[in-house]
Each structure stands twice: as structure tokens, then as C-alpha cells.
Amino acid sequence: MYPAAFDYYRAASVDEAIKLLGQHPDAKLLAGGHSLLPLMKLRLAEPPALIDLARVPGLSGIKSSGDRIVIGATTTYHEVLTSDVIKSSLPMLAEAAAIVGDLQVRNRGTIGGSLAHADPASDMPAVILALDGQVKVVGPNGERTIGASDFFVDLFTTALQPGEVLTEVSIARPAAGTGMAYEKFAHPASGYAVVGVAAVAARDGSTVRVAITGAGPVAKRASAVEQALHGKQLAADAVKAASAHATDGMDLNGDIFASEQYRAHLAQVLTERALNRAVGNARG
């Protein structure tokens, strides 16, 4: 409960944050703090400095930009789950944000913080993967855009390079005829996903994207499921058969609550449920 000493900087702009990161290479960026601060209080993380992004203007908010929806990095879960744009265009994102942590976490925690932290059991990575989102990062060498599938690399590891700041995530509006759903089996203590499965699908199989969090060290697309269903009618028996491949090629986690074997099984069950519900939700 008593973190080691650290310096605190409040950045006024993304450029200043990048400059401060250059000066303090071991510093951590602070957004909502709901993942970082508990680690610091337990002294599992002892960063020498924090660079606070909370008051950087323009880093927060949700807007439509052409056929994409852009969400600023410091947008809170609460803002996401109450946004009309999100609820109407990306309902799965609102659905998932509504079951992240507890009220305090949803009021303070940010979508950018969650993605950059890449906790293996958090909800947002699976949702953004299934929505095929893109992450924008800005660093000393300028700006670049990273597809979600390339962004999540490993346990707590992303494609972010030293000195880079994640500034926004953008998601294409889903094509007509697609539906989406997020199925989460929450850990009874932490509330994190033991396994969470996000699915975006069209009944005719023209779109099938499935992403799984919690099962392994990093959230991943279930490509075997997607390939098995691509271009096919997503009838219940086909979905069931394909879901059996949910964790093909995936490393699995095991702990005192859920073994690797059980996580693999949950991934199959939740994949089937998410896909069936996504198809049921398909509109237009």
C-alpha cells in the first residue's frame, strides 16, 4: 500500500509527454492509473517517474470521422459505455466497457491505458481485435498507425516503442449485415476475464472475426475459427464445429481458479455463444 518514491510530471501536450519520456526513459505514463497504481502500491512496479496524461487537451473523447469512429486514449470506460455513437455503431464495445472492473474503475480507467497495458485478462484488447481497430501512436519520430492484430505482442507487451504515446484508437463502422457480441466469464474475485470472447460476424460468413482474451498470455484472434467459417452460413452446427478450434495454436494460462484445459474449454463455449449472439444481433 506504500509505493516507493517517484517523481511526478503533468504533461500539457502529447509533445511534452514525448519530451518527458525522452528525458525519463524508465518513466511510466499515467492515465486512469487503475492498473499502474495498484502495482506501485504493492511495489511490484517502482517507476522512478510518472508522466500524467490526464489533462492533455484533445486526448479524450469520441468522434465520428468519415466511416471511422475515433476514441481518444484518455476516454474513460464510462464515456465509452454511455456514448450514443458507440452504443449505436459498436454496441459490443459499450457492452464490454460496462462490465470492466467496478464503478470506480469505469469512471477513471481509460481505453488507451487498457490497450497500452495489455493485461492478458482485460476485456478491451479482445474487443478492439475483433473490431479490427487501429491504434495511433506518436513518438519522437512522428506518428504511426498500428493494426490491432500487430499491436498486442505478448504478456503486458505491445508494439509501442520506447518514447511513444498511444493517442487514439479508431474503428471502422461495421458493414451492414454484421452483428457483434462479447461473452465474458469473469473471475469471481478480480472481475477480470478468465476468458472473454469478442465476435463480429455476418450470417453469410462474409465477415467473421473472433478474438479471445484471458485464455493465454496475450489477447489474440482465433484465426482457425475465422477460417473455418469464412464464407459459410453461420448456422448453429457450423458455429459449434468451428468453435472447437478456438484456442488452436494458442498458448494457454492456468492458475488456481482455472486450468489450461478449462480455459481452452471455456474459450470454445464462449466462442460459440459469442458468434451465435453476434449473428442474432446482425442488422441491415
Binding site: Y2, F185, A189, I256, A258, Y262
Partner: protein
């Protein structure tokens, strides 16, 4: 006494406004000038020899005032005492030092203590202490710990067996020899972590001038803490004051006397400055006692008609690394005596091995021994029913002690006061529409859905007494309670109770008793507790004893006050005391209601003392020490309905019905609250909570991220009703309500889940019934 308006009324808890607005005064809220922060370095190893401790770098860090190792405190503190010493058990109490000296014996054992000007500096210094450990093999499982060749914690405790307790009542061998059938089952009752909302803490302030130690600490029994603190420090009892007024829950974990408050006190005395120690949650998980942790081998002898004729239990109880204050009593007397439950079982045999292991010490946890016994009985009743193809309700009913047979002497030596077990079962069955449920269950099964119903019919022993029995059981204290009623000249009343509420609401229920007995408004009554500088010697709150024992002490003290006031009123009204009628706070002359003295008038007269009867002294204050003649025995029926998801193994709660009988009820709302909380905790043991160690003794469930204390959304709605069978043991007819929920609910939930899984042929699964455990069991059956 006729029932008056406060007894039985759901008066809102008077303590709540200050507590829920953050204005309580908990230990960590005590801020004394010049206080030093104490942080404790705890062993990261479950079993390790301490070869050396280098505090050099830590000592030089900014803000650090002093660092103490076990050797530094060796002569300042006697070992941590054990205060329950069951006789005839070959008990061995190994030396338990507040700070380990040669060896650390569990992850969390104190190895050094730092005091610094603030908590951050203390933590920095703790991190800078270098300890040279020789890591030794650890042993975590109690039964394995008794095997030859297992790692030994102490030379003085061969095979790690600290005691072997045996209780036999009736002809156990004969019962099994003549049984139609014997049903055997091994039952694991897993380790739990108590999780009081307020972690433990201490503020110790030693005044070198007066030689007085004032200790604010999180205690359920401050006079016990005072007595033991005096014993370990050598400071006379008259010079130790322990204050535990607001305590944020305990569940038994704040009964024990711990190393933390000892270290804080010794250092305060050494430095002449106040010292504060407050656990964080992670420290609480290793440094505060755990509960349960039994391996029970159970055999039941029965007749073909379902009559249970004998019960035999062999238990391995995990005591952890040291024997905590009351620990040896929990898996023995508090467990074995109640193994008859509500059933007429002719012969009961129980033997218990108390085993030390490299784990956090265990001690009382809500129910303390009685949930373990009830779990055994209620699981076995279902197993017997299953074997005989009988309905679990019928087996229970067949074995109930009939309502006409009270007082009933169990073969284990208890004398049940009163009961009507069929009454609570009947009401519960009516509430759940049992035949209707079985029809719905059958229809659901046809659709592949798994519905289940589970019953638990239980008896609790609480209001533990009398003191003579405590002595016979080796409990190093009495089991009476005290109360002082001080009427002030204005007629306002202060009650000083030895009960020590820490969530039970006695500031309200006790005030209700005062209001009724003295006929004054509840707002004129203050209940003072938890401060040894203010209250008479008291035994504290645990074992659902506060109302039955402390409440009775208060009731009797109130009677003495009223008698004296009545005699004084008679004197003032110039009539015989026999001619005085007391009604609604007014003493009036029989047949002449206008010749009256109000209670405040009499109180004022007692202090003016201008005119007193010749044999009466001034003042209006009475004390009563009450030692009950017997325990009291609440009982009831809990019923749980579940649906299990066969795909994931997850349990959904459909319904929870509790019909308890706790005798007469002073405040129904508070009793409901106690029952709700108890059910939540007991249900949590069935499906959510478990403390897990790896083989090296590392606590894997070491935080609230891993240990699942349920929130409201994880619990069903509780439908709580009561029957009322007063006890003859005390004049108010009250029993106890603090633990019935945890005692009853665990087996009701497990039985419901096993019932839901019965289509797979599953007869038993050990707790907790986590989704994976249920799913694996289904897989194993389906794979056949």
C-alpha cells in the same frame, strides 16, 4: 415481564450513522503526536533458518528510528501465548516468538520490525533489510505432515502433531457392528481467510512517567488482550489499558492475541514514543489467522429405514505454524461436542489430530468448529438418503430429536435447551413448495437443465458457558459476562458492558433492553464497550454470546437498578415497596396513579440522598457478573435452489430460504442482517472462497484479486423467516444469531449442487464447487 415496545422492534442501528459517514473511530483513526510508524518484515519463505540479518543499510535510511530483530525483543517480550489448552491430549505448545529468532515457519512470519517517522520510510527500510535464509523443505498439508519423513517444524512436536483429542459417547463400536449399512466419506473443509473490512492494527503508547501502556487495537475481547499483554510484557494489569471501541468486523480473527500488537507495545515502551501498526490487505492475508482447514474421515452407521445409529469422525485439523490463542479449542470442543446436530444419534466417536504446518496459523472463524461439524452431518445425511433411495428430507425427519424430548442430552455431553426441529423444516418446505420444486426439476432435466435443491437442518451451540465447563475444556478464562448500569442524576443511563460489539449492533439492542426495563427513551441510553479503562472486566464478543450472556448480565443489572429505584420511590412516596407499581418509567402507588415519581426524579433523589431509606446507600449504579447455567442452542432449516450450467460448470443461485430459531428476538432487523451476512459467508465457502498454498508454502490466493469474497451480485436474494422457541437458560429466552448463517448455509449450497449433478451419478465433490471443479466432475462422468 410483559413484552414492551422496544423488545422485538426493528430499531435502526444507532451506530450506523457514524460508521457509514466515515466518523467512526477505528484503530487507524487514532493520531497521537510523535507517533512512529511500524512496518514488519515478513518471511518470504514458508520454512527457513535465519542465518543472519543485516540491518546496516536500512538503519541509515532517512526517517528510520530503530530496527528490531527477534533477538532484540527476546528479553522484552515473552512468547505469544496460547490460551486454550485442552486437557488429556498430550498437547505441545511450541514456542511462538513475536519476531522469529532462529527459524521462520510460514510465509508472513515476522522476521524484523522497523519504526520510522512515516510509513513510507518504514517500508523503504523493510525493503533494505538483508536476511540470510537457509530455505528448508516446507509442509503444507496437515495429514501428510504427520507422516514419517515429513519436514518437522519443531523438535518438540514429533510428526508435527500438537495434540490428539478423543471424545466418545455411547457404544460406537456396537453401533457400527450392528449397522445395516455404513456410509463412509472423506470430506475436505477448505481453509478460509476471514477478511474483516478493517484489517488489524495497533497504536501502542507507553508513558514512561506513569508506566502505563495504552493500546488501541482491533480486538473482540479487550480484557483478554489486556491480560495477555500484561503477561508478555510484565507491565501490571493496572497499568495496561486496551481500547477497541470501533472495530470493523472480526469473524473470530480478532479474538487472538497477536505478535503485531506485542511488537508495537514493546517498541513503544522501549522508545517512549507512540507506535502505530496497521496491516494492509496483503499483510492481513498472511498475518491474520485463517479459518477451517479440516480433513475429515467420516463413517455413519445406519439402519435400512434411515435411522442413523452411529457416527465416527477422524479429523486432521491444520493449526498452521503456531498455536494461536484459542486455536486448539476450535477443532476439538467447538467441533466434536456438536456432532449430534439436531439428530438423535446413539453413539458418536470423534478423534482429532491438531497438526502444525508451514502455513498461517488458524483460529476461530465465524462458526468456529460448528460449521465443520454441521457440514459433516448434513453431507452425510444426503449420502445416507442416496444410499437408501430415500428423500433427504425424510432421512432428516426420521432422525430429528422430537420436540417433546427437551432438554435433550447428547452422547457428546451437551444438554440441548429447547427445540422444535420439525417446525422450522415444515415452514421451509412450505416456503419452497418442495413437491413443486421436484416437479420443476424433473421437467428441467428432460430439457438437459440441471436444477438442484439442498437442505441443511442444523443445531448450533452458542452463548458458550458455563465457566466451569470452560475450565474442564482447558479454556484459560471464564465464559461469564459483566454489565454495569450507571444511572446519572438526570436519569440518563450509561451501560458499561463486557461484550465487545464489532458489527453486531449491541449499541442498539442493549439500549432497547435498557429502554424497556427502565422505561426511558432509547436516546437517554449510552452503551460503552471496548475500553478496559471504562468497563468492568469482560470476556468479549464471539461465539454468538453477546445477547445470551452479556445481554442477560445487563438484564439482571437493570433489574437491580429498578429494584433499588422502586424501593427509593416507595420511601419518597411514603408507602411500602410492595405498593409501588412501575410502568413506562413511572413509579406510582398501586391504585393511585397520580402519586408518582418518574425514573429521572428517583435517579436525582438517589444522588441528592437527602432522604434515603435507612438501609440504602446513595447513588444508582449496579453491576452484575452473569455466568449462565448452560449454553443455548439455536437451530433451523436452510434450503438452497441452484441451476448448474453443464457447459461451464457455473452455479446460478435460484433461491435461498432460511428458517432459523434463535429464541426470542430483540431486534428483528439486526438479526436479519446477521443471518444475511452469515449466509453470504457460508455460501461463499461452498462455491467461492478458498485459501490455496503451493507445495512450498506460498499463499497463492494472497489478495482480493485471487480470493473471491462475494459481492451482492454473486449472491441470491435471501428469504429469511423465523420460528420462536425460547430458551429456559436465560430470563429473556434469547439464544444467538451471529453464526447460524455460516453454520447452516455451506452444506445447503453443496447439497443443492450435488442434487443438481445427480443425473451424472455424482454423489460428492469437495468444496469449493468452483465452475472448473463442477465441469471436471461432469467431464469425468460423461467420459465413461
Amino acid at each position: 415481564m410483559a413484552v414492551t415496545k422496544l423488545f422485538g422492534a426493528s430499531v435502526k442501528r444507532r451506530e450506523d450513522p457514524r460508521m457509514i459517514t466515515g466518523r467512526g473511530s477505528y484503530t487507524d483513526d487514532i493520531h497521537l503526536a510523535g507517533t512512529l510508524s511500524l512496518a514488519i518484515l515478513r518471511s518470504p519463505h514458508a520454512h527457513a533458518r535465519i542465518r543472519g540479518i543485516d540491518v546496516g543499510r536500512a538503519r541509515g535510511m532517512p526517517g528510520v528510528v530503530a530496527i528490531y530483530t527477534g533477538r532484540d525483543l527476546q528479553d522484552k517480550l515473552a512468547p505469544v501465548p496460547c490460551a486454550w489448552l485442552p486437557p488429556n491430549t498430550d498437547l505441545k505448545v511450541p514456542e511462538y516468538r513475536a519476531i522469529a529468532i532462529d527459524k521462520a515457519r510460514y510465509v508472513g512470519d515476522a522476521v524484523a520490525a522497523v519504526v520510522a517517522e512515516d510509513r513510507y520510510a518504514a517500508q523503504d527500510a523493510v525493503d533494505a533489510i538483508q536476511v540470510d535464509y537457509e530455505v528448508l523443505p516446507a509442509i503444507v498439508e496437515q495429514e501428510k505432515a504427520t507422516h514419517d519423513g515429513a519436514p518437522q517444524l519443531y523438535d518438540s512436536v514429533p510428526n508435527n502433531v500438537a495434540f490428539h483429542w478423543v471424545l466418545n459417547g455411547g457404544d460406537v463400536e456396537g453401533a457400527f457392528a450392528s449397522a445395516d449399512l455404513v456410509v463412509s466419506q472423506t470430506l475436505l473443509n477448505q481453509r478460509l481467510i476471514p477478511n474483516a473490512m478493517e484489517p488489524r492494527g495497533a497504536v501502542a503508547s507507553y508513558n514512561p512517567g506513569s508506566g502505563e501502556l495504552t493500546l488501541w487495537c482491533t480486538s473482540q475481547n479487550p480484557h483478554i488482550h489486556r491480560l495477555l499483554m500484561s503477561a508478555v510484557t510484565g507491565i501490571p494489569e493496572t497499568r495496561v489499558r486496551v481500547i477497541s471501541t470501533d472495530v470493523g468486523g472480526g469473524f473470530g480473527s480478532k479474538i487472538p492475541f497477536y505478535a503485531g500488537e506485542m511488537i508495537a507495545s514493546a517498541i513503544s515502551r522501549d522508545l517512549g514514543r507512540p507506535v502505530k501498526w496497521t496491516e494492509d490487505r496483503r499483510e492481513n492475508y498472511v498475518a491474520t489467522t485463517h479459518g477451517r482447514d479440516h480433513v475429515d474421515y467420516v463413517d455413519v452407521a445406519a439402519r435400512r429405514d434411515g435411522t442413523v445409529t452411529g457416527l465416527r469422525v477422524r479429523t486432521y485439523a491444520n493449526m498452521g505454524a503456531y498455536l494461536s490463542t484459542a486455536a486448539p479449542g476450535v477443532p476439538t470442543w467447538l467441533f466434536g461436542l456438536i456432532l449430534s446436530g439436531p439428530y438423535k444419534i446413539g453413539a458418536i466417536g470423534c478423534e482429532v489430530f491438531g497438526v502444525v504446518t508451514n502455513t498461517t496459523p488458524t483460529d476461530a472463524y465465524r462458526g468456529a468448529g460448528r460449521p465443520e461439524a454441521t457440514y459433516i452431518l448434513e453431507r452425510m445425511m444426503d449420502l445416507v438418503a442416496g444410499r437408501l433411495g430415500m428423500d433427504p428430507v425424510d432421512v432428516r425427519r426420521k432422525n430429528f430429536i422430537p420436540a417433546g424430548e427437551f432438554p435433550y442430552a447428547t452422547p457428546t455431553g451437551l444438554l440441548y435447551d429447547s427445540g422444535n426441529y420439525d417446525g422450522s423444516l415444515d415452514r421451509a418446505l412450505e416456503m419452497v413448495d418442495y413437491p413443486g420444486f421436484r416437479r420443476r426439476q424433473e421437467a428441467a432435466r428432460a430439457q438437459g437443465r440441471l436444477l438442484g435443491i439442498g437442505f441443511s437442518t442444523y443445531v448450533e451451540v452458542c452463548g458458550l458457558a458455563p465457566s466451569q465447563a470452560a475450565g474442564a475444556m482447558g479454556f484459560q478464562g471464564g465464559l461469564w459476562e459483566s454489565a454495569t448500569v450507571r444511572v446519572h442524576p438526570s436519569g440518563k443511563v450509561s451501560v458499561f458492558t463486557g461484550s465487545s460489539p464489532h458489527g453486531q449492533g449491541e449499541e442498539t439492542t442493549f439500549a432497547q433492553l435498557v429502554g424497556d426495563e427502565l422505561g426511558i427513551p432509547i436516546d437517554d441510553v449510552e452503551i460503552v464497550h471496548g475500553d478496559t479503562g471504562r468497563i468492568p472486566f469482560g470476556m468479549g464478543t464471539y461465539g454468538s454470546r453477546s445477547v445470551a450472556v452479556g445481554g442477560t448480565a445487563l438484564f439482571k443489572a437493570l433489574g437491580k437498578v429498578r429494584d433499588k429505584a422502586s424501593r427509593l420511590a416507595a420511601h419518597l412516596l411514603e408507602v411500602s415497596p410492595d405498593d409501588i407499581v412501575f410502568d413506562q418509567g413511572r413509579f406510582h402507588v398501586k391504585g393511585a396513579p397520580d402519586r408518582v415519581k418518574t425514573f429521572p426524579e428517583v435517579a436525582g433523589a438517589a444522588y441528592l440522598a437527602w432522604s434515603m431509606p435507612p438501609d440504602m446507600n446513595p447513588g444508582l449504579e449496579e453491576t452484575y457478573f452473569h455466568d449462565p447455567s448452560n449454553n443455548v442452542f439455536p437451530f433451523g432449516t436452510h434450503v438452497c435452489e441452484v441451476e448448474v450450467d453443464p457447459e461451464t460448470g457455473k452455479v446460478a443461485f435460484q433461491r435461498y430460504v432460511a428458517v432459523d430459531d434463535v429464541g426470542r428476538v430483540i431486534n428483528p432487523m439486526i438479526v436479519d442482517g446477521q443471518v444475511h451476512g452469515g449466509i453470504a459467508q457460508g455460501l461463499a465457502q461452498a462455491v467461492y472462497e478458498f485459501a490455496a498454498y503451493d507445495d512450498n508454502g506460498q499463499l497463492l490466493s494472497g489478495s482480493m484479486m485471487d480470493y473471491a469474497v462475494p459481492d451482492a451480485a454473486m449472491l441470491p436474494t435471501f428469504e429469511v423467516e423465523r420460528t420462536e422457541t425460547p430458551t429456559p437458560v436465560n430470563p429473556m429466552g434469547v439464544k444467538g444469531a451471529g453464526e447460524t448463517g455460516t453454520i447452516a448455509s455451506t452444506p445447503a449450497v453443496v447439497n443443492a449442487i450435488i442434487d443438481a449433478l445427480s443425473p451424472y451419478g455424482i454423489k460428492h465433490l469437495d468444496m469449493p464447487l468452483t465452475p472448473e471443479r463442477v465441469w471436471q466432475a461432469i467431464q469425468a462422468r460423461e467420459g465413461r
